[in-house]
């Protein structure tokens, strides 16, 4: 074990390697590692935020769904009421129409009946004269007895 120039050679080599390591190896590697740590930390924070966002979005969706359901129920209720009202209206319309049709039919019937009566009334005198001629066996002058016949017709 003899010490010689190797001691000095190794010392110089050592100092050079330490200097290279200090100046151009350690800083970039540490920088990369630090940056990655930050990136990972940011990523984790972002994912946590996203989770929270998702939770709040879900809550909002649930709330909106409930609200929409409520509105839908209200609309259905209104529609049902409206339908019932329309049915009622239709019914009353129909009833009124029926009433009207009945009345006009009644009126027509009455009118027809009157007309028939008038016709009959008009023919009564003829029948009466014919009946009386038969009874009397002679001709009755319609003109002479017009007054009598008119009274008779009016009585009918």
């Amino acid at each position: 074990m003899n010490l010689n120039l190797t001691l000095i050679g190794q010392t110089l080599t050592f100092l050079v390697f330490v200097w290279i390591c200090k100046s151009s190896i350690w800083p970039p590697i540490m920088a990369a590692m630090r940056q990655r740590q930050e990136t990972i930390a940011d990523g984790l924070a972002a994912s946590e935020r996203a989770e929270q966002d998702l939770a709040s979005a879900k809550a909002e969706v649930a709330q909106q769904l409930t609200q929409a359901k409520g509105e839908a129920a209200e609309i259905i209720e209104q529609a049902r009421a409206r339908a019932a009202q329309m049915v009622e209206e239709a019914k009353s319309d129909a009833r009124a129409e029926g009433e009207r049709v009945k009345e006009s039919a009644n009126a027509e019937i009455a009118q027809d009946a009157n007309r028939v009566k008038e016709d009959l009334r008009a023919q009564v005198s003829t029948l009466a004269i014919a009946g009386a001629e038969r009874v009397l066996g002679e001709r009755i002058d319609a003109a002479k007895h017009a007054d009598l016949l008119d009274r008779l017709a009016a009585e009918l």
Binding site: M1, N2, L3, N4, L5, T6, L7, I8, G9, Q10, T11, T13, F14, L15, F17, V18, I20, C21, K22, S24, I25, W26, P27, P28, I29, M30, A31, A32, M33, Q35, R36, T39
Partner: protein
């Protein structure tokens, strides 16, 4: 594998000798042919194998980490970036848990020490004869492949750390503060001589324990691998026994090399923390 007419002792000796370049006895420059010759070269010689492997492994470390640093993305990392980031994050956590001051140097320093020392220790797991035999085949006489079994390598790093300890001690506490810490602890002003001895030993022990701990552990580990390798040439029974030992020791050594790299890095951070600590009185 102690073949080629070597005795076991020669085999071990050969494995523990560095490829040393320096001035030979006859005055010419060249490689030492034995450990005795290497020792004679004195300080002005260089262990070419330790230096080369240390450099290669350091460059591999810088190359891998630089590649990741240049293409570092904060998006999804690839497998290489993932692995590198694991190491960086580990060192960063460890540094933060010990060192609470603001200093851009400490964590990269710990990273360099941890990975580089780990790579150097890792060479211990390559079977002891592979690279030396290959080197021998191309005409290189000695080849020690684990740089951290060379005290020059470990002590060089330890002394560098020691220099940083001194620098930051003086920078944070001032020359007076630093000397005061050495002189007036733990027995107050009256016990200054005793304090100086105690604190001085503590201070000197820091680089020595750092460098020698790593060197000792790796040297012993390498030695055991070499001893096991000798068993392979001792007949069928010893061969099988050696195989079991080799596997067991290698598995255990995976733990040791990681631990030693980690200890070196963490102690560096601890010592630098102490250098930054300004004690209040």
């Amino acid at each position: 594998m102690a073949g080629d007419g070597q005795t076991s002792q020669e085999y071990i000796q050969h494995h523990l000798t560095n490829l040393t370049f320096g001035r030979l006895e006859d005055g010419t420059m060249g490689f030492a042919h034995s450990s005795a010759e290497a020792a004679q070269m004195g300080f002005w010689s260089i262990n070419v194998d330790s230096m080369a492997w240390s450099l290669i492994l350091g460059v591999i470390f810088i190359w891998i980490f630089k590649k990741v640093a240049d293409s570092a993305t904060s998006g999804v990392p690839g497998p290489l970036q993932n692995g590198v980031e694991m190491v960086v994050d580990f060192i960063d956590d460890t540094t933060r848990s010990v060192f609470s001051y603001t200093n851009d140097l400490v964590a990269p320093l710990a990273l360099t020490i941890f990975v580089w020392v780990f790579f150097m220790n890792l060479m211990d797991l390559i079977p002891v004869d592979w690279i030396p035999q290959a080197a021998h085949a191309i005409g290189i006489s000695h080849m020690k492949v684990v740089p951290s079994t060379d005290p020059n390598i470990t002590m060089a790093m330890a002394f560098s750390v020691f220099a940083l300890i001194l620098y930051y001690s003086i920078k944070c506490k001032g020359v007076g503060g630093f000397l005061g810490e050495l002189a007036f602890h733990p027995f107050g002003k009256l016990g200054a001589p005793v304090n100086l001895i105690l604190e001085g030993v503590t201070l000197i022990a820091k680089p020595l324990s750092l460098g020698l701990r790593l060197f000792g552990n790796m040297y012993a580990g390498e030695m055991i691998f070499i001893l096991i390798a000798i068993m392979f040439s001792g007949g069928a029974v010893l061969f099988a026994f050696g195989g079991v030992l080799q596997l067991g020791w290698a598995l255990f050594h995976v733990l040791i090399i990681t631990l030693q790299a980690f200890i070196f890095a963490v102690l560096t951070v601890v010592y630098l923390t102490q250098a930054h600590d300004v004690e209040e009185h």
